[in-house]
Symmetry: C2
Subunit: 588 residues, 2 copies
């Protein structure tokens, strides 16, 4: 968010506190920062004479909001003033929260400042709108919800009441956000995934461990085949590794030390320590290292779609976005330094094609670098990191990209990355693919090839996943399409519906022709009414219906209707097959 928007949000937190104190004079204000989409403020509301909480509830937000709007015109400035600790203590006498903060600031030897607007003064570091009445449109914010929150986030402390507000530059921006929010809720992949019967969670198997139905598996496989088709054309080869290893592999790779908490660890009956793989690169190095490689064999490009595992905490799990078993469409290129550019550009081409197919155009680029201040989080030397990062910067430049996001501290443990950032159909940005350049694993596993001079030459590794993980990409795709998958990807592509039982045989024949042509057709021969059948197919977002009635059978044709384009009309079955096969081929 822009700095000025942050200042406006922060100012609105003050305004919220002022409004609350006018309506609830016994409330004790605590803290109120700006956040990603607005602001909040935490209050202590005392118990009333009847022993019940005096805290406002959701329905009271309207009144508080009204009071904020009433106060706003009188907030012509936010005046800051430095005070002594005693002055501050005096100003917030009877408010233990503010007092605690004052002592803390004083203890650190920092200055204490108070800010006043209208009749309201708050302990604050500053960063506000200069003239709130002028700068803040009265219709650009909205109180959104009330929640409980512990003082300073610690469950041992008192439970406070948090009031959240949304705030944007203008009413239009606020409305757009509210629309996006409502749209996102409708498209939530957890909800749609269940409705469309794509995946499920089982209480017996556990959270964070999705199971995929036949329909969900069809989409997974089609996506994976698409990536593989493009990789194959670029000379990739599939390999296969087990999902576990002795810990020795990760001691060599460095994952054991850096990744330890998130590893699923296994003690065998013989008391050896194994781990489930959190990444595939260390295993793949072992396939590379199995033979002495000549420069003529380079690059070696290994692809494998396989699950990796992370011991995530239950509270952090969320649908397909954060799971404990993740299917990566992973690949590792083992190449000479002189081959880096070609290999990275080949991957880049695949990423561009893949995301364009789904309407993610103009991906933005982030160069994710290491954070020198936290060098203990990485393996390798500063020199090696500089070489790798410089190379990525120059490749991005050579590719003609000028609008680059700087990802300080976003690198992988073993090397910097080019991350690709997409915008989905409702305007949300998300990181999708990634290409990682790694000079460190080859060092640790002593990976080399014999060069033209017969000398051992250190190689480099390039890590890349096109989808990232199938689970996360599926979540993205479900929400991006709202469950209206393109034809080539739909688990059921066509629903064949006879208008009445008399046309069931004709419908069956059409259904079988479609199946024989590898089109995923279903036929509805149930006793349900014609109308109900059509509604069923529409709810399932089936891309096409083929309807067979008297006129169709008489003409030896079918009536075709499209989910996206509506009625198409009477078409020959050959025409339908040709149309469908072309759309599959073009991944429409």
């Amino acid at each position: 968010m822009s700095t000025s928007l942050e200042h406006i949000r922060h100012t609105l937190a003050h305004l919220l506190a002022a409004a609350v104190l006018e309506l609830y004079p016994d409330a004790k204000p605590t803290i109120g920062p700006a956040i990603d989409n607005g602001f909040y403020y935490d209050f202590e509301f005392p118990l009333g004479a009847d022993g019940k909480s005096t805290s406002p509830v959701q329905t009271d937000l309207k009144d508080i909001e009204k009071r904020m709007r009433k106060l706003l015109p009188s907030w012509k400035e936010m005046a800051g003033q430095e005070v002594t600790p005693d002055q501050a203590r005096d100003a917030f006498k009877g408010n233990p929260y503010k007092t605690e903060l004052i002592e803390e600031i004083h203890g650190k030897g920092e200055n204490i400042t108070l800010y006043t607007a209208g009749h309201f003064t708050d302990l604050c570091r500053g960063g506000h709108a200069e003239n709130p009445a002028k700068e803040i449109p009265a219709d650009s914010f909205k109180l959104s919800r009330i929640a409980g929150a512990y003082w300073r986030g610690d469950e041992k402390n008192a439970m406070l009441t948090r009031i959240y507000g949304l705030a944007f530059e203008s009413r239009e921006a606020l409305d757009a956000y509210l629309t996006q929010l409502a749209e996102a809720e409708k498209r939530d992949h957890k909800k749609l995934g269940k409705e469309l019967g794509l995946f499920l969670f089982s209480d017996l198997v556990g959270s964070g461990l999705p199971l995929w139905t036949p329909k969900g598996t069809i989409i997974r496989e089609l996506l994976n085949d698409y990536v593989w088709e493009m990789r194959r054309a670029k000379g990739y080869q599939k390999v296969t590794i087990p999902h576990i290893t002795k810990k020795d592999l990760y001691e060599t790779s460095g994952h054991w030390a850096k990744f330890k908490d998130e590893l699923f660890k296994i003690e065998t009956r013989e008391k050896h320590v194994f781990a489930m793989k959190p990444m595939n690169c260390p295993h793949h190095t072992q396939i590379y290292a199995n033979e002495l490689r000549s420069y003529r064999d380079m690059p070696q490009r290994y692809a494998e779609t396989t699950m990796v595992y992370r011991d995530e905490q239950s509270g952090e799990l969320s649908g397909l976005s954060r799971v404990r078993a993740i299917t990566q469409d992973d690949a590792h290129v083992f190449c000479r330094k002189s081959q880096i550019k070609n290999e990275i550009f080949a991957i880049w081409d695949i990423i561009d094609s893949f995301y364009k197919t789904f309407g993610f155009k103009d991906l933005r680029i982030r160069i994710s670098r290491h954070d020198p201040a936290k060098f203990e989080n990485y393996i390798g030397t500063p020199e090696v990191w500089k070489t790798a990062e410089d190379q990525l910067v120059s490749l991005v430049k050579e590719r003609g990209i000028s609008d680059v996001i700087d990802g300080l501290g976003e690198a992988a443990m073993y090397g910097p990355k080019i991350d690709f950032i997409a915008k989905d159909s409702i305007g949300r940005t998300l990181q999708v693919a990634t290409i990682q350049l790694d000079f460190n694993m080859p060092e640790r596993f002593d990976l080399a090839c014999m060069n033209e001079k017969g000398e051992k030459e250190r190689i480099v590794m390039i890590h890349c996943a096109i989808m990232g993980s199938i689970e996360r990409f599926m979540a993205t795709l479900i929400e991006h399409t709202g469950g209206l998958f393109p034809f080539w990807l739909s688990p059921v592509q066509v629903q064949v519906i006879p208008v009445a039982e008399a046309y069931a045989d004709a419908a069956q024949k059409v259904h079988e022709s479609l199946r024989a042509a590898n089109i995923r057709s279903e036929i509805d021969l149930s006793n349900d009414s014609f109308g109900k059948k059509i509604r069923g197919a529409k709810t399932a977002h089936t891309p096409y219906f083929i309807i067979l009635g008297e006129k169709d059978v008489a003409a030896g044709k079918v009536t075709l209707e499209s989910r996206d384009q509506g009625q198409i009309g009477q078409v020959s079955i050959e025409g339908v097959l040709k149309k469908f096969q072309e759309e599959v081929k073009e991944r429409k």
Copy 2:
């Protein structure tokens, strides 16, 4: 082995002991049973005056064997005699091993018998050739090797010397066995797999955890695609499950109690107990149970090729035959009782087709039943087991199979099986596919469908794997073919070799046409001599070579040579492509 062959082998163990005692009078005989391919006898050989062992070594076996042959004609009978404990103790005075056995037999209140042939008497329960001289051909046995063995197999006991012998009905049978043994050694999948570069083991990853190279992965995928092609035609659908689960799933399925030692167990950071899956059926039940199923949805047929895991002991691991991570081409059919026959016969058809493709004809059938004496090893009630076993017996009969092996105690934990037994190209029998009928899992997971009357109807599960495991099938296939994979399955199908550099461009064009036609072609443009290139392709067992020389380029053709049929001659490139594509299609 037949009883009489067992008697002969047992008799030969006596004869071995007699020969050893004549040549090594200080040796103390202990025990000597018949085994699978012959017999052995364990002896204690005292230390000599020089402090060194007097035990014979490998090169002494010839002399012992000669002495056995010399004694054999005088062994006209094996006379048994019951003796008192004292008589027995007296006969084996100074031999603590025999004395220990005598006390043991006496302690159990059993009769003690001695058997004598020629001048040799042994403590023995009987079971011999009646007239060894007549019944045992002198050239039907052979001493094979010497090894150390602890008395009674316990490492706390004295180390004895074990002499092994091979013995068969006739010299021809012995020779056939020796030939098979030599052939098996040449074809050992561990040796060939390494030579052909199909898979590897890494010290860092650990034993029992194979990693598959691009070449090995090509074969795995082709095999798996073949199985899937047939399953798809029978209405199977792919599903996808995670490789771990909370232990709750296995407590419900019964695996936790019965399978516990072999489970890889995981304690998460939140102290929950997870396990890596040793089987896929419990997970698949959760996909079935995710929806209320109507009789119209039945059967549901789920297929998934995925790894399962067993915490095997290091000493039991062997190449691909016994591993810790096993890729099963697994499938589960959820069906009504009335559908069992159709479903089992459909699987049976797939099994027949699959194994016939590799030349495994006339698979023998074993019905693997539970062992009522060890009912604690199974889940379910005796009635349910009887129903399931009776049904398998009647299906096997209906399929017209009369030659059925009875597999008492060979059932799975949850149900009886039809096992398929193949004979490989060097005559060894091995269990391949299996079909399992399971009334128990549906009970435990409460799996049902709504039948025509709107009532909840208990369903059954059929478990089947066509290859069993890809690892074990690969081991079988490598040894069965001796590494000479059929054309459609070869990682490199064609090697293109220009006779000299002048024909490199023409060769490159041919290579590219092959690649474009999805034929796995490789081209050898190295500086090696033509002869060396040909030898290289032959060592790699490449099914075809295409050679390009002056005459070929002039004629616009290629010279084709087959690994199996030798020279084929000059052929047009269109002719080659057509031939190759047909062979792939027919899986030749």
